[in-house]
Point group: C2
Chain length 336, copies 2
């Protein structure tokens, strides 16, 4: 009988929760606003509440004996071995917090549920979700890159999550490809995030649209106010042939390609799954990225290079968090 | 009883060979010019000959039953699973060649020796040598970076060699940190090797020495001909306070630090063992590298950062090639 688990994606805006069947994927899901004002203890109560509700509902049709546990993807520095979350961005009032232990306590004391709980970094959870149910399913080794407000990533090696010695692997947004350039993010010069984070892409388009009359379609979409340009406008305008929009995506793709080349050179990973809101531009980014990738690495490493879209959208996190509960490496996540 | 093995470092100039005791390290060693003119078959005969000589000599005092095998570190693209070597640089006339099989055949037919043979990329072998017997011995996870004519590397994860899905991992010389810069190596712009390969370091110093009278000590060492500046001159001049030489090494360290920061961000590796001829400059490079490393990554990742010198010099390759024969992962290297 297939296992099932509860996957939770704890975000600064919403908490997404899903009951996930090992074989079928998501059975049912829900999203509710994160009660950020209530601090860690309040959020743990909220997490325990949504988990319990999903557990009860799932128990009506699923076998409790096949319940694998509750996986939580959380932003920021997660120590999955110890189950702690430290200084999550967008969640005020958190220091270093024993999220796993506290959630287990709340589940037992408030809801009478004893469950295996694991905590994982949200980008890692999303990468694992794509590995099991999404765009990375065909690949034994790949890197998931998330292009959105920020640039993040997760690495899958031999179908397992690669966390690194301290659990912080995959921070591709901090990869430096222009160490003497002008773009700065979080105090570091020339990182991928400083170059192709969402705001930077919009700035790039704005800087190119200066010449009046060059991009009528893009100007129309942003109501003739370049300040209002959004990635969605850029996508639509590019598909309709707008030159500025096309050049913007080519530049984004080129920069992404340079970053991917560094992953090929260093880790010998040749498959890339690209997700996040910005990745909706699809081939507009992927084609120039693949072209740049070929230009940036030795011909002897060209074999097997692929850039594909993520498939789970914003459900990758809940899927991955649940799937980690099924993983054979599960015991690695428990205390010794 | 400890095992022993034969380690061979096949280079374009010399073949180095050592008999290595699992516990004691190198027992005895030898170096002879590579007979590059004789092509792959001739070199395999030469390899079999030196291996047989070392085997015979070792057998006088060591137990043949404790012989673990022959490890060969070779330049270029090595498929260690299949035992093939493809297009090694500096070895003319090689295509893709079944080095392991051919060497086993020659050993049996010419010398009556049946032995386990493994082939590994030379940079990987050197990294493994430092892991077992050298500067990386204290680290579970580290990256070895070799600074010489080229810039190369090898990655150790959980005390094992990380080869990557296709066996080409660790090519840090191809990491791009200045994608729009002027430096080009092997057709790729802004790679570490294009910025701090040996020749580039000398060029850098030359370009800074233009102003007459600014660097009397360095000028003295190169006999007043900047074209003759060598890394050794730069090291000596810097230790004696020469401004151009100090600035050159600071620049090299800064660039290295940016490269290492990318490894921290991507792989969460925080220990670095630096070898190769250029690394003789030691702290002249390591200090600015560590400073740049701290500036280039999030404070939450500063814990545990270390840059240390390699300790085995040009013996890392033979040590590592032999040590791979002892490794528990040995079976992985044999055909299924």
């Amino acid at each position: 009988m297939p296992s099932w688990a509860i996957g939770i994606d704890l975000g600064g805006t919403n908490i997404k929760t899903a009951v996930v069947d090992e074989v079928e994927g998501i059975l049912f899901e829900e999203s509710q606003p994160t009660d950020t004002d209530s601090g860690p203890d309040g959020i743990v109560r909220q997490l325990a509440q949504v988990a319990a509700e999903h557990y009860q509902r799932a128990s009506e049709t699923l076998d409790a004996g096949a319940f694998a546990g509750i996986g939580v993807g959380a932003p920021g520095a997660v120590d999955s071995l110890r189950g702690t979350l430290s200084y999550p961005p967008n969640l005020p009032g958190w220091g270093r917090y024993a999220l796993r232990e506290q959630l287990q306590n709340r589940l037992e004391e408030d809801h009478g549920i004893t469950a295996f709980v694991l905590i994982e970094n949200d980008a890692n959870a999303a990468a694992y979700g794509e590995a099991v149910y999404g765009g990375g399913n065909a690949f034994r080794d790949f890197m998931m890159v998330t292009l959105g407000t920020g640039v993040g990533g997760g690495i899958i090696l031999d179908r397992k999550l690669y966390r690194g010695p301290n659990g912080t692997a995959g921070e591709i947004g901090f990869m430096i490809i222009d160490f003497e350039g002008d773009s700065v993010h979080a105090g570091v010069r020339g990182t991928l995030e400083s170059l192709i984070g969402k705001e930077r892409i919009v700035e790039l388009a704005c800087s190119m649209i200066r010449e009046p009359g060059t991009s009528p379609r893009l100007m129309e979409l942003c109501l003739h106010n370049p300040e209002r340009i959004s990635p969605r406008h850029l996508e639509q305008a590019a598909r309709e042939g707008d030159v500025t929009a096309i050049h913007t995506w080519q530049r984004v793709g080129k920069i992404l390609g340079v970053g991917l080349a560094n992953i090929v050179a260093l880790m010998d990973i040749r498959k890339f799954v690209i997700g996040g809101g910005i990745a909706a531009a699809g081939e507009l980014i992927f084609e120039p990225a693949l072209m740049q990738l070929h230009r940036s690495i030795l011909p002897s490493m060209h074999e097997g290079l692929e850039i594909v879209p993520a498939r789970l959208g914003n459900k990758a996190g809940v899927c991955g968090a649940a799937a980690l509960c099924f993983a054979s490496g599960q015991s690695l996540l428990q205390d010794d």
